[in-house]
């Protein structure tokens, strides 16, 4: 049982899945449970704005008759509702056309140990959230600045059980904290944030200090010309870009000729060096730096996988069907990933730059051309001009049209990887650990007046 009694224990989860599998009349059946306590607090204008504490448990039942398959989800657990969700999935499945790619349900599997559950996070109360936020708002008030931000945490269980005897249960805790501090005249804005599993690892005072100093330093930015620039990218900006490439690792899309990872003339780029040889990216549920659940929704083990090694594409994401078609093992999908770095510090990157830009993070990143993984987006909350090895003044934000492929071919320096808040909405995204980078020829296409 979770220490807060707010989500399902392993025994409770097993009772529900046993009940579902007993009720099932299908040839194959799978039950997925997600049970969590979520808490969050927002702040704006240096005070709390809204917050929430939410309990929810949901159950998805997938039923198959032969190759006819469908699923149904509920969050009610009385006998009648459980019978209803099983019945609905079966009714839909009987009526669905055959899915020639349905692979049946998995039998018992063995999973790597992954302990990302922390009672410190599970027991977090609104008072502690308020105190952590006050560490930021007090600094902002002292400097006549306006702080806003978001603290969110979730602790809970996920569970998979199948009619073929598989049962998997795992616990997880996550916290994400981000803050944006603006000047009262609206000419400066600074940001800081990160994600952790253990509440004890979060230092909101330090993050608040970073956002406060960036807000002050970014006041009254000047124009620079769009074009190709050497950029020193803080880890959050790097993660924003590399995520775009990691999300495109589908083997099937590559084989079908509609992906950057398709090889011209057929096949994939597997085995090819396609980016700088210093780039290595892996995922691993057991790596404490990038904790993730040890099993997928189907109950597949998430093994350690090296996707890119020394710039060479080593693996693509194969689901069970596509893996079988291609005589390979299914890979699972990276929930969290780690990119190796180098020994350069951010200070050294700046000091070595004759003329360039320092970037804090990116915003509104949207796809433009999937053939090259070209995306567009803007810089935000801390963009500075570097001249002759020094930060000289803040600059206006810029729109870029760029691809992580070009960026990772143009690396000049790499720093030590750190964990970031990787999603634009600062929600509870998988753990992403990336280094800061110095990159040449990053393509900016226009100026933005937004601060």
């Amino acid at each position: 049982m979770g220490s807060t009694n707010e989500f399902l224990s392993e025994d409770e989860a097993r009772r529900i899945t046993d009940r579902v599998l007993t009720l099932s009349e299908a040839d194959h059946c799978r039950a997925n449970l997600s049970s969590a306590m979520d808490g969050n607090t927002r702040f704006a204008q240096n005070q709390m704005s809204t917050s929430g504490d939410i309990n929810n448990t949901s159950l998805t039942v997938t039923s198959a008759f032969g190759l006819r398959v469908a699923s149904s989800t509920t969050n009610r657990f009385d006998d009648e509702s459980l019978a209803q969700v099983v019945r609905t999935s079966e009714e839909l499945a009987r009526l669905a056309p055959e899915d020639p790619e349905y692979m049946g349900e998995l039998g018992p599997q063995s999973y790597p140990d992954s302990d990302s559950y922390y009672p410190t996070t599970a027991n977090l109360e609104p008072e502690e959230r308020a105190r952590a936020i006050a560490e930021v708002t007090e600094q902002a008030v002292a400097e006549d600045l306006i702080s806003t931000g978001f603290l969110v945490h979730r602790s809970g269980a996920s569970c998979v059980a199948t009619s073929s005897g598989l049962f998997a249960y795992g616990l997880d805790s996550r916290v994400n904290f981000t803050t944006t501090v603006r000047t009262e005249d609206g000419t400066g804005s600074g940001w800081a944030g990160t994600s952790v599993n253990d509440w004890a690892d979060l230092n909101t005072r330090e993050l608040g200090g970073i956002a406060v100093s960036k807000a002050i330093q970014s006041r009254e930015p000047r124009d620079v010309e769009p074009g190709r620039w050497t950029v020193v990218m803080e880890p959050t900006a790097v993660g924003n870009m590399v995520n775009l490439m990691v999300n495109q690792l589908s083997a099937r899309a590559a084989d079908e000729g509609r992906s950057f990872f398709s090889a011209p003339g057929g096949g994939t780029k597997l085995g090819e060096q396609f980016i700088d040889e210093r780039v290595t990216i892996h995922s691993d549920p057991q790596d404490p730096r990038i904790h993730s659940t040890p099993f997928s929704g189907e109950g597949l083990p998430n093994r350690r996988t090296t996707w890119v090694e020394n710039g060479v594409l080593r693996e693509l994401n194969y689901d069970r069907y596509w893996a079988e078609q291609n005589d390979r093992e299914p890979t699972g999908f990276p929930s969290g990933w780690y990119m190796e770095g180098g020994s350069d510090t951010l200070e050294q990157m700046i000091a070595s730059t004759e003329r360039g830009l320092l970037l804090t993070r990116f915003w509104y990143i949207r796809g433009v051309d999937p053939r090259t993984i070209l995306f567009t987006g803007l810089t935000r909350d801390g963009t500075f001009l570097i001249e002759n090895g020094q930060i000289t003044h803040p600059v206006k934000n810029l729109r870029w049209n760029e691809t992580p492929i070009f960026m990772l071919n143009n690396i000049e320096m790499m720093g030590a990887p750190v964990r970031i808040s990787s999603g634009e909405s600062a929600g509870l995204t998988p753990a992403v650990v990336v280094p800061p980078l110095k990159v040449r020829d990053f393509a900016f296409t226009s100026i933005s007046d937004a601060i």
Partner: protein, 545 residues
């Protein structure tokens, strides 16, 4: 060929107007209303939910709340997705629960649970009060609410003709397969993805002032995407079904949208794009069809006029707005030309934001956001309307919420979300698409929404599209590709020198508009005519690797 394409675009527009399935689409927009037509029901609010709600409100008040509201929701959705000749997924999801929001000494608290029982509503109401107390220490300015009329027993249902949940799954799959075959019948097409999505949301609301509303909201979305891959594998191009918008209608919207009939056109477009000429970057006049323009309106008008953004409440994610400080813009900022009128409303039958009451029990108003080119008003909730009290009083207007509060589910706290935000057709006459194109020497016509990205104050944005046609000397020429245009909001709308009339009007929209933290997803509709904008920057988005 060129002429046929031109006519085809006109035909799409004409068909587009009928997608809404209601004659006189514009009739309701500016007329005073209490509730939308034909959707009030004689039934009374659900007594079981009413009893639970009263229990929650009582517990909140006993614990010390000066205001409380409770929402008890059951959301059911069904989705079917296919590719080519197989079903990718069939799912049916139900989530039920409730959320209690309280004010304690002017500080908000909110708690929610998926266990809807007598005991749990009391526990959660007390938790919301305790949380408000925890946040109160840091309170600098207490929250107050603008007055709202009490509605003791309001019942409302989306104006559907056929409940999509009554249609058998075989019929839905057969419909998608027929559309897929229609696309695959076009030579050069390799991939088709298509889907149907349906939602029914039972939304019960009660507050401590005596308002009780019980609404049933439907949403229906048919969609498809067709991909062609060049024979040598060097290129692939896709076309999405942006001529078909999701709507707050029933199964009849699937039939009226005519996915099967339009599929060959989507397929032909995807194939033609492979051999289309890559655009020369530069300055062009743009003709934007409403299948495309609704998204530009969404980003550059609807979002920047959200009052919570303007006041900094969304600065950490969605951002702020170029409209700041408010008093330097409201009533004086020239958003666009004099014929530009933008209205916020939640009354167009079938539009995605239309409801009887918002998520704090307020009957929404129809109001001008831009009147004769000038910024006239902003989107508000009860908390926010008071922030504009001085302005409203100086104008002799009532200080009240526009009814723009929304929460995506029982588990999320309600906050300000956009109504249907529409650009009205040209006021004096029915300007045709032909007339818009006729006035262009060097331009591009853009059909369908594509890639989009905008900065956090809504100045600088960039948009792609689905289909691009070159315009030379008032004539539509061949297809272009790799097109995106970049704008700065005020210049872009002031560079609109003419817009289409009612015959070019279409209601576009989407699911999945994100705002807030935790991010909440909203469904949005924007009605608009075709427009013409002079001298806009176009870039070429192609790269060779």
């Amino acid at each position: 060929m060129k002429r046929r394409d031109f006519l085809r675009n006109s035909a799409i527009l004409a068909a587009g107007s009928s997608f809404v399935g209601h004659p006189g689409l514009l009739d309701g927009i500016l007329s005073p209303r209490v509730t939308p037509d034909g959707v009030l029901s004689a039934r009374r609010a659900d007594p079981e939910r009413r009893a639970l709600a009263m229990r929650a409100l009582g517990a909140a008040e006993d614990a010390g709340a000066e205001y409380a509201d409770v929402r008890i929701n059951t959301n059911r959705n069904r989705g079917i997705s296919t590719r080519e000749r197989r079903v990718l997924g069939v799912s049916d999801n139900v989530t039920a629960g409730f959320g209690v929001r309280v004010l304690v000494d002017g500080t908000w608290g909110f708690a929610a649970s998926g266990v809807v029982t007598d005991d749990e509503v009391v526990r959660i109401a007390r938790r919301a009060v305790a949380q408000a107390r925890a946040n109160r220490a840091a309170q600098r300015q207490p929250v107050e609410l603008a007055p709202a009329p009490v509605e003791p027993d309001g019942v409302w249902t989306s104006p559907i003709r056929t409940d999509p949940f009554d249609i058998p799954i075989e019929e839905k799959v057969a419909y998608l397969f027929e559309a897929n075959e229609a696309a695959l019948g076009v030579g050069g097409v390799q991939f088709v993805n298509s889907s149907l999505f349906f939602l029914r949301e039972e939304k019960f609301f009660a507050n401590s002032e005596g308002t009780v509303t019980d609404q049933t909201i439907y949403r229906t979305s048919p969609s498809m995407s067709v991909t062609a891959v060049s024979s040598d594998g060097s290129d692939f191009q896709s076309r999405s079904s942006t001529d078909i918008a999701p709507m707050a209608l029933g199964w009849e919207h699937v039939i009226d949208s005519d996915l099967v009939g339009l599929a060959p056109m989507f397929a032909e477009d995807a194939v033609e794009k492979l051999s289309a000429r890559s655009v020369d970057p530069g300055q062009y006049d743009l003709i934007l069809l409403p299948t495309h323009l609704w998204l530009t309106i969404h980003e550059s008008i609807a979002h920047p006029t959200e009052l919570d953004r303007i006041m900094g409440f969304e600065a950490n994610y969605a951002g702020t707005s170029f409209i700041s400080p408010v008093d330097e813009y409201l009533g004086s900022f020239q958003y666009g030309p004099e014929f530009m009128n933008v209205v916020g409303e939640r009354s167009t039958p079938g539009a995605l934001s239309s409801v009887g009451w918002d998520d704090e029990g307020v009957a929404p108003q129809d109001y001008h956001i831009v009147r004769d080119g000038i910024l006239d008003d902003l989107q508000t909730t009860r908390e926010q309307a008071l922030w504009l009290a001085d302005h409203y009083r100086s104008q002799g207007r009532e200080v009240r919420s526009h009814g723009n509060s929304y929460a995506q589910s029982w588990a999320d706290v309600q906050f300000q979300r956009m109504p249907n935000v529409n650009l009205l057709p040209y006021p004096d006459r029915d300007v045709t698409l032909e007339e818009l194109v006729d006035g262009v020497d060097r331009g591009i016509l853009i059909d369908g929404s594509g890639s989009f990205s905008i900065d956090q104050q809504r100045y600088n944005s960039q948009y792609g599209g689905q289909v691009f046609r070159e315009i030379r000397n008032g004539r539509l020429e061949g297809m272009l590709k790799d097109v995106a245009y970049q704008i700065r909001t005020p210049e872009f709308w002031n560079a609109m020198d003419l817009c289409g009339g009612e015959s070019t009007y279409f209601v576009g929209g989407a699911f999945g508009d994100a705002k807030g933290q935790p991010a909440q997803s909203n469904a949005i509709s924007h009605g608009c005519p075709a427009t013409r904008h002079r001298d806009v920057t176009v870039i070429n988005t192609a790269r060779s690797v």
